[in-house]
């Protein structure tokens, strides 16, 4: 009898029947990704302003990773790396507007979960995540990209107040059904332009950490508006969480909250994200709540990466990484953090990598403007973190910057090594090896100069 069952199962391959239903019911997964959100501007990450009461509540009921990092500070590539647990150069996605390759070895989280019977829904809030550009819509049952706002002429997006009701509607329709759901909601509000939201003025109420407003007027205004956007987004997240309570699925839903990258608000003389790899830009929030399975109130300080999210979710849900119908061994470049989440304790130290790729700008005389004209294969900056030692390498200018984040958390005192230093070659060789090991020649979608111009206006090009 058992042999027949095994043969039957083998014949059906990795179909959902193989995931034996005798296990505990699979939890729902709510993944919230917030665009351009610096970890250190959330109150639960130590910010003196009360910007995130609901996210704070989530952290109190779950585990917060105090040192999570993105792999690339660009929305499209960061999200695709998140869903595939692969570095951008492995996916061949180095810029916004480039889709996942049709490579069977690269499998996404929604694909895996859907193969195990999950209902899958996605709600994105900005242009770089359009299905047409990322191909992510292929892996979700429904992919809502109803973007109703624009700024800087071409760039479509939407606000938290636009996306949340639609996500809630989907939630009400798909919760408490026979199959669990995987819902991904993406918020774009902290991204430029920073709009001060009426009714969302984060007052500094934490007297223990009095808020020191920046001396520079520009920066102060920027921070005020940026923080208001965070506070406004947090309010919408509160609505999602309240809905879980109201539908009595709080205990059966794993909530994962991340950001795709942070933002530099004037530190190092730079406003924005994409070009550099300083802490404010790559340090992201990462919180997991799963009552009864993930320890509440826990803080994990070991550095982790955004590419660890998918293996962790898979490990806490279906456990079986064989994506239905794919029948290929799924390789994750990230690792599962499930045991630390469940049992407590710090995960082992592991080197964290991050990278960013430049756009090459040229003057297009027929357009009377500067445009991004070419895809650069090699990163403009990339680096690694080992515990508190951080390195950022600029291979083009042969400059390696080393920071000790324990004594210099704001990265003001770099130890710079150039080609003339004796240890330069040795120190950069490990990074070089990592990159060439992970690089792939996967076919990329080429953008037309027109599309590139639009992306430039989004600020993704220097």
């Amino acid at each position: 009898m058992r042999i027949t069952w095994l043969i039957l199962a083998a014949a059906l391959g990795g179909s959902c029947l193989w995931a034996a239903p005798t296990d505990a019911p699979l939890p729902n997964v709510l993944l919230i990704s917030i665009d351009t959100l610096r970890a250190d501007h959330l109150s639960c990450y130590g910010y003196a302003r009360r910007t995130s009461p609901y996210i704070d509540g989530l952290a109190q009921e779950g585990t917060r990773f105090s040192r999570a990092y993105t792999v690339i500070p660009l929305t499209g590539p960061a999200h695709l790396s998140l869903f595939t647990s692969r570095y951008p150069q492995e996916n061949g996605v180095r810029r916004n507007g480039v889709a996942l390759p049709d490579n069977r070895a690269i499998v996404t989280l929604p694909q895996i979960l859907r193969g195990h019977g999950y209902q899958t829904g996605a709600f994105v809030s900005s242009w770089p995540l359009l299905g047409r550009l990322t191909h992510l819509n292929r892996y979700f049952d429904s992919y809502d990209e109803h973007l109703t706002r624009t700024y800087q002429l071409f760039n479509s997006s939407r606000y938290a107040e636009d996306v949340t009701p639609r996500a809630l509607k989907w939630l009400h329709k798909h919760a408490n059904k026979k199959k669990p759901f995987f819902l991904w909601v993406h918020y774009f509000d902290p991204h430029e332009p920073y709009l001060f939201r009426a009714g969302f003025d984060p007052a500094d109420v934490d007297k223990a950490h009095p808020y020191q407003p920046p001396k520079d007027d520009g920066m102060r205004e920027r921070m005020r508006n940026y923080d208001s956007e965070i506070y406004y987004t947090d309010h919408s997240i509160g609505k999602l969480l309240a809905a879980l309570d109201a539908m009595h699925i709080k205990d059966s839903t794993m909530v994962v909250l991340v950001a795709d990258h942070g933002e530099s608000l004037g530190q190092h003389g730079y406003v924005g994200h994409g070009r550099h790899l300083f802490e404010g830009i790559i340090h992201i929030p990462f919180i997991v709540r799963y009552p009864g399975h993930v320890k509440a109130g826990q803080v994990i300080d070991t550095p982790v990466s955004i590419i660890d999210v998918t293996p962790t979710i898979v490990d806490l849900t279906v456990k079986n990484v064989e994506a239905a119908k794919e029948k290929v061994p799924v390789v994750f470049s990230g690792r599962s953090l499930a045991s630390s989440l469940k049992d407590g304790g710090q995960p082992t130290d592991r080197r964290i990598y991050y990278v960013t790729f430049p756009g090459k700008k040229g003057y297009a005389p027929q357009w009377l403007s500067w445009m991004w004209v070419q895809n650069e294969e090699l990163p403009s900056h990339f680096g690694r973190i080992d515990d508190f030692s951080k390195a950022i390498w600029d291979p083009g200018n042969k400059k390696l910057s080393l920071y000790d984040l324990r004594s210099d958390p704001h990265e003001l005192h770099a130890r710079i090594l150039t080609a003339s230093n004796s240890t330069y070659e040795a120190d950069t060789s490990a990074l070089k090896k990592w990159f060439s090991r992970t690089e792939t020649r996967a076919t990329e979608q080429k953008l037309s100069p027109h599309d590139e111009e639009v992306l430039k206006s989004l600020g993704y090009v220097q």
Binding site: L153, Q366, W367, D451, S457
Partner: protein
Amino acid sequence: MTNRRKFISSVFAAYLAADRELLAETSSHTPNFVLLLADDLGYGDLSCYGSTEIHTPNLDRMAEEGAKLEEFYAFPTCTPSRAALLTGRYPLRSGLTRVLAPKEHFGISDYEITLGQALESCGYATACIGKWHLGDMLRYGPNRHGFEYFYGLHYSNDMTLRVVDWPPIRLYRNEEIIESPAHQDTLTQRYTQQAIEFIDRNKAKPFFLYLPYTMPHVPLAASAKFRGKSSYGLYGDAVDEIDWSVGQILTALKARGLDQNTLTVFTSDNGPAIRTEFVKRAGSAGPFRGGKGTTWEGGTRVPCIARWPGHIPANLKLKGIASLMDLFPTCVEIAGGTLPPDRVIDGKSLVDFMEGKAPSPEHEFFYYSGRRLFAVRAGNWKVHFIRRKRGPKGHLSTPVYCHPPELYNLEKDPGERDNVAADHPDLIERLSRIALNFQASMDPGKLPPPFWRTFLP
């Protein structure tokens, strides 16, 4: 007489008769109109308007042979300007208040009477050769709004971002696509050729040739003959080619004996895409502030050269407010028609003004941008109620109200540098009242949905 002499004299008599007939034909009908509209050409982009970078000999000669209008106004962007030109009314009345996008279900209403329709009813042959930009759908096309022949594009030559699923730029002949994507390098050449062919087909009757050039709107293009030849980059090449085209058309009119009986007007639809610290060889608005898209003088004041031998005196420099809207009643009056009585026509006939016989009939201009009134000019004073601010990356912000309104004396300060609002509260009061009264009398047409909707996936 011998048979031979009879033969010769009968042939000669026939020739005389025919010649008289021919002469009679060319002067017995009302004048032809040739309306040449450049796209995004600035006030300071022609040598006769002061450009030191671009040399435009044909247009300079046209100005020497006719009148140069120095205070001629358009609207800040394409569609509203063209709507104003072809209907003689403020764009808010026809509802065409913003640039239209490809595949949009919006365009010029059947209610509007275009200059093409008005002149057709006076017996004119009409053609639109170039960019239409009053609606992409065929029901909004030039063939259904007064132009029996159309050869050109439905909208701007840059409206083809794949990212928002816009199709390639298509070249139409009447209602048929003949080239997709259109090869933009040769558009000016082909427009010129089409224009001359149209003139040839219709030289025996009155005709209205409306030629809205695609250049020098980005992406710039010029044919091989002109590429790289000017000293001002691709922009100079494109403007040079337009200048050449104007020369060709004027020569063609002369060669066919139509010169004396044709009013030719050359102008632009709005201010230029101006030079910045990053972009060197772009358009110039001369001494004026701002460029395309703004309601400063640079965005709305455009060159205008009018030539009508025997009527418009040579080398006439005209000061006085006039606008694209005035061309409608001007042409209708010259054609011997009457203005449609059932609607407001904001334009006024410029016949006496252009002939140097009277000052301009216009005393005010209302700078509408979109559906809102941004500024008003009355006499030499200009008040800004709403303006856009330019951000650090060069982008124009959303419109903001000026608290208090800004006031400029265009005679003393044409560059709009000195805001003298504090010194003349009475003028602000007066101009505000003028603006309010005009607003109250305005009857807006059906307005399009917001522009950003056209970018949604």
